[in-house]
């Protein structure tokens, strides 16, 4: 029970991120069916639920990479614009970490981390690389700065990808199943980096199948099913005393009683 999220939620300032009646369909399949949720500053929110429940689609719509069909995303009081040049200004304030890392293979770890500030923020190369080096140290990979992604393990690649997202000094970090493509033995190193970021008080939205991580690190857990929010609440409630029968079934399948 770290910070009694429900109480914080109730009393708190305005949300950093609001989804209002968002929906998205792929053909007749309603991937997201009228979802309205809030993410508050400093909060670690985990999206959980079965495959195809809409949790990743919701995350990917957050920065407009895969825009919703309707509804609004409001980030820091600003409705996410549709115009490409305007959405870029919002997008650079959100960091994103992908399931498949998506490091740039023609760039070293250091260059991968530095490229965002250099191209988008016009940071001087030397300064950007100095910051990149500090971020690589933070994720424990200072000694791999000159390695190309092909020479890094999956867990190392994902840690570089996290550093790359941090380089833009984002106000929220979006994680799209960050450990799903990893070997079991490297999942831990990525999760501990994420835990450290959570402890810094960063706002993080994490789509994950790592239930024990969600239980341990999340301030708030949102359970999705068939494009809708099945249940949301603090992890103690979701994992120990879910109020919705389907949540129990879903967690039961995963070995949570």
């Amino acid at each position: 029970m770290t910070d009694a999220s429900p109480i914080r939620r109730a009393a708190r300032q305005r949300p950093l991120l609001e989804y209002k009646h968002v929906h998205k369909a792929f053909g007749v399949f309603k991937a997201i069916d009228d979802i309205s949720i809030n993410i508050y500053p400093g909060e670690v929110v985990c999206f959980i639920g079965p495959s195809g429940s809409g949790k990743s689609t919701l995350l990917r719509g957050t920065n407009g990479l895969d825009p919703f069909d309707g509804g609004e995303v409001i980030f820091d009081g600003l409705v996410l614009p549709r115009k490409p040049s305007d959405v870029r200004k919002v997008r650079r304030r959100m960091g994103m970490v992908f399931q498949n890392f998506e490091l740039f293979p023609h760039k070293t770890a250091l260059q991968n981390v530095a490229i965002g500030p250099i191209t988008v923020l016009n940071t001087a190369k030397a300064e950007a690389e100095q910051q990149a080096m500090a971020l690589l140290a933070k994720v424990g990979l200072a000694d791999k700065a000159d390695n190309y992604p092909v020479n890094l393990s999956g867990g190392q690649q994902q840690r570089v990808a996290i550093a790359r997202a941090l380089a833009m000094q984002p106000e929220v970090l979006l994680f799209d199943e960050p450990t799903s493509a990893l070997d079991p033995e490297t999942i831990g190193e990525v999760l501990s980096v994420m835990k450290a970021l959570a402890d810094e008080g960063r706002t993080m939205v994490i789509v994950t199948h790592e239930m024990s991580f969600a239980r341990r690190v999340a301030d708030w857990v949102i359970v999705f099913e068939r494009g809708k929010v099945l249940e949301e609440g603090p992890p103690e409630q979701i994992f120990e005393a879910p109020t919705v029968e389907r949540t129990k079934e879903f967690l039961g399948h995963l070995g949570w009683a």
Binding site: R91, R92, M94, E102, F104, V120, V150, M168
Partner: protein, 222 residues
């Protein structure tokens, strides 16, 4: 087996070597122009607005259906009549070979660009990059590495195609070899020599590209 008499080659070696120089110059300029134009049009072919895509596709299909020899003679003999603009032989050959080879480069660039996984672009966009920044910083460098083997064959085709410029009397190596062969009545020696010269130009070129590709290929994998 007739005797090989190398006298005509020995006597005209400076004339022939100067021709190799023209061949190399024509090749380098055509290749450089084709790579620049082909990259621009290839990017336009993938990311441009529909009408531009159609126009580029039409150009590529047209050039694939016309022999480069026809393009050369058309530019040298027909363009002056049609437009009143008279290009000297070297320039006519350069223009013809460039518009011919550019069409191949467009297709190579298109295939290279389309082979880059969408997630790579998404990663760039997620950082806040614009599409042009994504194309320049992320897509094209990776595509260029993947394109190297195909570009290698374009290099060799281009160098070989320059021999066709002999039909409009560009003083490149093939034209000069023909001249020496005709004057000496020794086509066997002179044209055998020509084969060897072209081989010596091309073989190291394709090997070098291949070598570079083997050194870099891992950087194009995502």
């Amino acid at each position: 087996m007739p005797d090989f008499d190398l006298t005509p080659i020995m006597e005209s070696w400076q004339f022939l070597v100067a021709g190799v120089g023209v061949t190399i110059m024509l090749s380098l300029l055509s290749i450089a122009a084709s790579l620049v134009l082909g990259t621009l049009l290839g990017v336009g072919r993938v990311y441009g607005p529909r009408p531009l895509q159609w126009a580029i596709t039409f150009y590529v299909d047209t050039m694939r259906s016309i022999p480069v020899l026809v393009v050369i003679v058309w530019i040298y003999f027909a363009v002056p009549i049609l437009t009143g603009i008279n290009f000297p032989p070297f320039w006519s050959a350069l223009i013809a070979i460039t518009i011919h080879i550019t069409a191949s480069v467009v297709e190579i660039v298109r295939a290279g660009v389309e082979s880059i996984r969408e997630g790579q672009c998404r990663a760039g966009l997620a950082l806040g990059m614009s599409w042009p920044q994504v194309i320049i910083n992320i897509v094209l460098p990776q595509a260029a590495i993947r394109m190297l083997p195909a570009i290698g064959s374009v290099l060799s085709v281009t160098i070989k195609d320059t021999a066709i410029a002999s039909v409009i009397a560009v003083p490149e190596f093939m034209k000069r070899a023909e001249t020496v062969a005709a004057q000496s009545y020794q086509p066997m020696e002179v044209f055998t020599f020509a084969i060897i010269v072209y081989f010596l130009l091309l073989f190291p070129t394709t090997r070098t590209v291949d070598f570079i590709y083997r050194r870099l290929s891992h950087l194009g994998r995502s």
